[in-house]
Symmetry: none
């Protein structure tokens, strides 16, 4: 692979994103140094293979600031001063508030390019880092009038090197988009999960995949999200107010179901839901869809998974991903095995030959 | 397998649920007849293997009504009259409104037992039917004072035969539970997806897994859900009003982020989201959080997973859940293995003894 990124990359902040960027760049043999305000976290990320310690002889060409949003601007400003020849970028989920703070400082802001890789997991920390976190994910580069074109190019090349799809937007365009596509879902999901706090345990026993999927991101870090939501409140509020208005309409229709126009109002909201989800771009951009999925029924006892993977491994089929279905109290489980499409036929033949029951 | 269900089962309505029930009963060699108001759908379901046509010589022991909720009660009443010796059940997602209508009729309601298999897919129709749809899923049996115990038993046995986990509740208890765990998520998800209808296409290009998961069920059938929501409005409204109140608090805090107590309000909502999702039960009815998780580093090549599960199985440790963080093209992957807390020590010892690297 022809690596576009040149020189030494220095990462500040070894959380999920910092560690993942380090791991993916190290896979490309890029020279990566890293630091974290916590010496323990820094050592862990270095042990994990995300980079090496910075030395006084180093000549850093780009600094990537991967610290929490509320300290991102001050860290960028300090990095612009500490590394006077380096391009500086960051990965925070909000861009306008940070840009404003950097512009208000005395630092050489022509070398700063805000960016935002649209990738993450509910679990943070260096140990959650993975080199493929950015593969097929959008990576926004926030381009402003005063930014050096060479700096924008360098950040874009780095994002492309680690597998992301780059999109150039202004900080404001970015913040409007993520308010809709990321911050509103977070609020909606957290408030839905909040309804479960005082719920009867027997009611919760009926939970299926729907409530699990809609509340999955409610498990995200409250400290991080408090910063994101409060730093992007101006873009977030119009979307939440529209949401409130439509919810109020549905509630008032449900209060008087037999009233004139009530069913039409509820039905309209449900149909708009259909239309909205249909507008989400196809999954071709994401990793998962390039895989073929086969669902296997297994007995819920020790050794069954071992036998399954043994036989699949013996057939030289590589499992790309897998998911165990949550079955409340059942003796049978479902395993969804993902493989490269070219391996699907072989996988099915192998499973059938070994007597596995395939679902679907 | 010892099949508990005796006699001929007749299914009315060959949609997703009717067809899936037919397919799973046929897999157990139970005699299944089926009918649908659409001759084309009926033929399709029969071709698909979900059952055979009803004949005038048949002696039906149980009728399962699988028609849309708004015509379920009338279909139950007509079935009680058409099949004077048969037990009659239904699978609609609301129970109290249907029960009231059946009780108000002249039909022999002691033979009627409402039920609700908590299983489904966004896609409906006979062709989406699958025999394993109910495996490991909760199946609510709505028990009322006047219902014959033999009828309740027969429905429960059928549900157990096709792999579901049965739960006996009153119609009202059921409706309260699904309002929280199923109907509220549907409203919340549809209204979120509705925000995307007028969105800028470039904003949508940034969509990640979070918005996809939270809006997945917004793709559900609006006609079906309009019936469900309007038939269960009395149980649904209190939950939606609580949701509205907490959303209004978050919005007002975002309107004045620097105001006293604003950050605490937003942070509190996010933290309640964490607490709520932690209460969702995991496999075997236990909570997700009651599992111990061990993260293992594996080489990304065929046979490694097999070796891992082989060794864990040989140690008689039962894996409750697992998640593979596979890295395309990376040399190392992480497997998160969940076991009962009591088995954690044994799992770790086994893995270490076999030379696996554990993360964290």
């Amino acid at each position: 692979m022809n690596v576009r990124t040149k020189g030494q990359i220095h990462i500040i902040g070894a959380g999920l994103l910092g560690t993942s960027i380090g791991l993916s760049l190290r896979n490309l043999n890029v020279d990566v140094s890293l630091e974290d305000s916590s010496p323990a976290v820094q050592s862990l990320a270095i042990d994990f293979g995300a980079g090496r310690k910075l030395t006084s002889e180093d000549n850093v060409s780009m600094v990537i600031v991967c610290v929490p949003p509320d300290v991102t601007a001050t860290t960028i400003i300090s990095a612009l001063n500490r590394f006077p020849d380096a391009i500086v970028t960051d990965v925070a989920s909000v861009k306008a508030a940070i840009l404003t703070e950097v512009q208000a400082s005395a630092a050489d802001r022509a070398r700063y390019v805000g960016s935002h890789p649209m990738a993450g997991r509910e679990k943070g920390g260096a140990l959650s880092g993975r080199p493929d976190l950015f593969v097929g994910r959008p990576w926004v580069i926030a381009v402003e009038e005063n930014t050096k074109e060479t700096a924008v190019d360098a950040v874009e090349k780095l994002a492309l090197d680690i597998g992301a799809t780059t999109i150039r937007l202004s900080a404001e365009e970015h913040d409007r988009a993520v308010a809709l596509i990321s911050h509103t879902p977070q609020v909606v999901s957290s408030l839905l999960a909040s309804r479960l706090v005082e719920a009867d345990e027997f009611d919760l026993a009926l939970a299926g995949q729907g409530v699990r999927d809609t509340t999955r991101i409610a498990a995200s870090d409250p400290k991080l999200w408090l910063q994101i939501l409060s730093m992007n409140s101006q873009q977030l509020l119009p979307v939440l107010r529209d949401y409130q208005n439509e919810l109020a309409e549905v509630v008032s229709a449900l209060e008087n179901v037999s009233g004139s126009g009530s069913l039409a109002k509820i039905g309209n909201a449900l149909e708009r839901g259909n239309q909205g989800i249909a507008r989400l771009p196809g999954k071709h951009g994401t990793r998962n869809t390039s895989y073929a999925q086969v669902v296997v029924m297994i007995d819920d006892k020790p050794g069954e998974l071992a036998r399954l993977f043994n036989e699949v491994g013996a057939a030289q089929v590589n499992i790309e991903d897998l998911k165990l279905d949550h079955a409340t109290g059942a003796q049978v489980g479902l395993v969804e095995v993902s493989v490269m499409p070219a391996a699907e036929e072989k996988l099915i033949a192998t499973l059938r030959a070994n007597g596995w029951k395939l679902a679907g």
